[in-house]
């Protein structure tokens, strides 16, 4: 199928760009940040580890940059991201393996929820233009969309965890939550995730609302909608089969860009709530000058976002007959 094939090519190409940026950035920046990092850890790491890092960053003049580049790409293909420095000697892939489920759970669920809620409100706001509530939703959404995620997270944390003590101050689980997947464990997980989920929902819902509202308004002036009205179709049918079906498609298309933004915001939210996902470890890596972990996390975050995008593209194929035949 040419459409999906093209999307797949873009996905692979983007991943390759992410990997290449990872490789180029430390070498591009003046002042040799990697040497600074290595100097910082000189006394605390054993010499063989420092040597390994030197090789990884091309500081020991082993081979040309081109040769280094291909060695690096080969390592990534094998899933070998080296070892974390701040958590030495844990392999970076182990850190990611631990953190990924939390982020996927938190960001995945909130993104789907936020998309559904925001789009539903957007449909309402676009379809009932002129109604005071529907019109008020737009400026509210603009404001919510302009709030820094982490700032709202801090306020939530202060209100509901610090002052009111309704929720824990941070982390994903109690220190001793009981055996994994037991009822106690689940309730602990749920209590810890409430505030982060709420934060991400509130701060990301506005974007989906605005997107969907614009799409609905655009569809409203399409000829096929006037025709549906002229046919005397019931309002419900017009809304579900004519407005919604068509307004959803561009929403899916802009999903990719918005998703990157939401993931960025969620990373900051994780930091505020000390939620042990990818964002939290990214922060740890930045603070600890842990470049291998940082780069691997960036690569994995990019991979996750791209995979989600691809899933949305698949959904698009199912929903739009024009794409199915490679016409769009």
């Amino acid at each position: 199928m040419p459409y999906l094939l093209r999307k797949l090519v873009i996905l692979v190409f983007t991943l390759w760009m992410a990997a290449t940026l990872n490789f180029v950035l430390p070498r591009l920046v003046p002042g040799d940040p990697v040497s600074v990092m290595l100097a910082k850890y000189q006394g605390r790491l054993d010499p063989s580890a420092v040597d390994a890092l030197k090789i990884a960053y091309g500081l020991n003049d082993l081979g040309s940059p081109v040769a280094q580049y291909f060695t690096y790409l080969g390592q990534i293909l094998r899933g070998d991201f080296g070892r974390s420095i701040s958590l030495f000697p844990t392999p970076v892939s182990d850190v990611i393996g631990q953190a990924l489920p939390y982020t996927l759970g938190l960001v995945g669920i909130t993104t789907v929820l936020s998309f559904l809620i925001g789009s539903a409100l957007g449909v309402y706001s676009g379809w009932r233009r002129g109604h005071p509530v529907a019109d008020a939703l737009t400026p509210i959404a603009l404001f919510l969309n302009s709030m820094p995620y982490f700032w709202f997270a801090l306020l939530m944390l202060y209100m509901f965890a610090f002052k009111l003590r309704w929720f824990p101050l941070g982390g994903a689980l109690d220190p001793f939550p009981g055996p994994a997947f037991s009822s106690g464990w689940w309730s602990s997980l749920l209590r810890h995730s409430m505030l982060p989920v709420f934060t991400i929902l509130i701060t990301s819902v506005g974007g989906w609302l605005l997107t969907m509202r614009n799409n609905v308004v655009s569809v409203t002036s399409e000829d096929y909608l006037a025709f549906a009205r002229a046919k005397g179709l019931p309002e419900r049918r017009i809304l579900s089969r004519y407005v919604l079906r068509n307004a959803l498609l561009p929403s899916f298309t802009s999903f990719g860009m918005a998703l990157g933004f939401v993931v960025g915001g969620s990373i900051l939210t994780e930091i505020v709530f000390s939620y042990p996902g990818l964002g939290f470890y990214l922060y740890q890596a930045v603070v600890g000058l842990d470049y291998p972990l940082m780069q691997a996390l960036f690569f994995i975050i990019a991979l996750t976002v791209l995979a989600a995008n691809f899933a949305v593209d698949l959904l698009n194929v199912i929903l739009d007959p024009r794409i199915r035949e490679g016409r769009a």
């Binding site: 002129g130 019109d135 820094p148 700032w151 409203t220 025709f227 005397g232 603070v287």
Partner: protein
């Protein structure tokens, strides 16, 4: 600038500009508003609110209020500069891609797609982590380099559309250089899009800077709202209960972001008015009672006034138009583009969208006042009593639903639900308009334009309505398909005894097909007559001119002339006849001052022209006629003996 004035009249963009102005003044007037240096540590830690320190002090004894004021400076700077650089990048790359095309376009487009899906903030964090320290410029640079892709995509699409437009093509053909074309022809038409894009990029920049500063990447020794949040968090402000230290800078960022977003939204709307905040008003009957309709008419339009309500004033597109359609009659409605004929059709069928609005008059269909019907009653009348075939039938079918569903739902909405019946009727309709029934299970994009138009006509016939309004149903089709479809329409009408209102600018077509023809000009119905009568004796000077615009098949060769001049602007209030300016037989002092009236000159022939006004002296009329160049009116308006046989229409034979 006109756009700017419209922008400043909207409450939302005013609020956005107002917030931005206040924040800007906060930064600029910081030395006036506070005596303290934002970074001096001269006070004790965590002082509460006081007259001296309106927002207290930080953990290390800095005045929070002065930090908030001075922080506005750098925060705004980052937003403005990063927004500007990102926008410049978007413009440069988007325009280059669109203008150069070919592999350059492919490459830039690939780059745009990559940067669109790469998660921005993590990338910025990584990049900034390597660029640690060094003031505000590395941060600005990194943010701009990651924030340009969305704008480039939008601008590229817009520039590509512009490049195909006539005026740009003309500039290319006349040998203008690429620089001139880009800067003189393309860029000026993209200003609002670029401005909207700038505010979008600035919003992204402010939020990214805040996020970066918050996690300590970038230069935390500077005072921005982002670094204030960083220090508040690092010093545990919330644990000390100093929530305002966190709340205030964040609120500043949120407000700045909102003002950027409001401006972005408002400017975007200038270029794309459909996205307006404007409300959809439902029609409410507050009109003065109109004269009683003709009881024999199937459709009776009385004194219908329709306008488009715009910020610049009301455009009166249809002015006091009255029109009757008898059962089984084929009425043609003709006039040049923009004369209000489609608006009339949309208003009469209550399909007019805002800003269009019915301002007065009545529309009665089979005894029911259509304009007064409640929504549910209107829904039931629609399609059952009258159906509509649209002008742009290319886009009339829902692209994501199968044809079958779109044929069915019209019938289902009016009580036919038995699947066997639905299927049988759909097949019958399709064979009636000459399409193979297998296309029922296609999607609209799989059909050609002519087939789509046939499908729409089939759907219009589904419930055998008494009336079908057809708005230029064949305009977009090639002549052969057009002829076939017209023949089918004529045949079906005869068989089912359906009334048809047929709208077109093609007068020759109407004369051939219609029982009666009505001519519109500048929102007025200027002449109405049986088709043969109108053909033989066009009475209104405008109709006569229209008749001269198409050649007869027989007779001597003669020069075809257009009508010099242009119709008047419909936003004006015209005291007299709207055709006055272009009329060759006008009577100054009468036509341009008397309110337009309609006169009956034969049994079924009315004309809105003062040449037929018995109150105007014959001498005045003679004078006007004698001034006319002989090409205008060959026969004096009074002689009605000469009868011409209708000339066959080349489109139909």
């Amino acid at each position: 600038m006109n756009g700017l004035r419209i922008l400043l009249r909207q409450p939302r963009s005013l609020v956005g500009a107002g917030i931005l102005l206040v924040l800007l003044l906060m930064g600029l007037l910081a030395p006036v508003l506070t005596p303290y240096n934002p970074t001096s540590l001269e006070f004790s830690a965590y002082m509460p609110f006081s007259a001296q320190h309106p927002l207290g002090t930080t953990a290390i004894g800095q005045d929070i209020f002065s930090q908030l004021l001075y922080g506005a400076r750098l925060t705004l700077l980052v937003g403005a500069v990063a927004g500007l650089i990102a926008t410049l990048l978007s413009v440069a790359l988007g325009l280059t891609a669109a203008y150069v095309g070919g592999w350059v376009d492919e490459a830039i487009n690939a780059l745009i797609n990559v940067f669109l899906v790469l998660p921005g903030l993590p990338l910025v964090i990584i990049a900034a982590a390597f660029l640690r320290g060094g003031g505000v410029w590395p941060v600005i640079l990194v943010i701009s380099l990651t924030g340009w892709a969305w704008g480039a995509r939008v601008l590229r699409a817009q520039a590509m559309a512009l490049r195909e437009r006539d005026f740009v093509q003309a500039a290319v053909a006349s040998g203008e250089g690429p620089g001139r074309i880009i800067f003189m022809e393309i860029l000026p038409n993209m200003t609002s899009l670029i401005a909207a894009n700038f505010f979008g990029a600035a919003l992204y920049a402010v939020l990214s800077e805040a996020g970066l500063s918050f996690i300590g990447v970038g230069d935390v020794s500077l005072v921005t709202w982002g670094t204030m949040l960083y220090w508040a968090q690092a010093k545990g402000a919330l644990l000390q209960g100093a929530w305002w230290w966190v709340a205030m800078p964040g609120l500043g960022i949120a407000l700045l972001g909102t003002s950027f977003a409001l401006l972005n939204f408002a400017i975007d709307q200038l270029g794309n008015p459909r996205l307006g905040w404007g409300s959809v008003k439902s029609f409410r009957r507050t009109l003065p009672p109109a004269p009683a309709p003709n009881p024999n008419a199937l459709l009776a339009v009385r004194d219908l006034d329709v306008g488009y309500v715009t910020p610049q004033g009301t455009v009166r597109a249809v002015r006091k138009v009255s029109l009757d359609v008898a059962p089984g009659e084929f009425v043609g409605l003709a006039g040049e583009s923009g004369c209000g004929k489609s608006t009339l059709a949309f208003a009469a069928t209550r399909l007019l969208n805002p800003p269009g609005e019915v301002l007065g008059g009545s529309v009665t269909l089979a005894g029911q006042d259509l304009l007064a019907l409640a929504p549910e009653a209107l829904r039931q009348v629609r399609w059952k009593e009258f159906s509509v075939v649209f002008q742009a039938s290319m886009n009339v079918l829902n692209p994501v639903l199968k044809i079958r569903e779109q044929v069915y739902d019209a019938m289902q909405a009016h009580g036919i639900t038995d699947p066997a019946k639905l299927d049988a009727r759909a097949r019958e309709l399709f064979s009636m308009v000459g399409i193979q029934t297998r296309y029922l299970d296609s999607y609209p994009h799989q059909l050609s334009g002519g087939m789509k138009q046939r499908v729409v006509i089939a759907i219009a016939l589904a419930l055998e309505p008494k009336l079908i309004v057809m708005d230029e149903p064949t305009t977009a089709l090639d002549v052969v398909v057009q002829r076939q479809i017209l023949q089918e329409i004529a045949e079906v009408r005869r068989r089912l005894k359906i009334s048809i209102v047929f709208i077109t600018h093609d007068l020759s077509l109407l004369v051939e097909m219609s029982d009666r023809v009505a001519i519109m000009y500048a929102g007025e119905l200027v002449e109405q007559a049986p088709a043969h009568e109108l053909y033989a004796h066009p009475a209104h000077p405008y109709t006569q001119q229209l008749m001269k615009a198409f050649p007869p098949m027989t007779g001597p060769r003669e020069r075809r002339s257009g009508i010099p001049g242009r119709p008047p602007s419909l936003s004006e209030t015209l005291p007299g006849c709207p055709f006055f300016e272009r009329c060759a037989v006008r009577m100054p002092g009468i036509c341009d001052v008397k309110p337009l009236e309609t006169f009956r000159i034969a049994e079924a022939h009315t004309v809105a022209c003062f040449l037929y006004d018995p109150a105007v002296s014959p001498a005045t009329k003679e004078l006007a006629l004698s001034h006319a160049p002989n090409s205008v009116i060959a026969q004096p308006l009074v002689s009605q003996e000469v009868r011409l046989e209708p000339v066959p229409n080349p489109a139909l034979h």
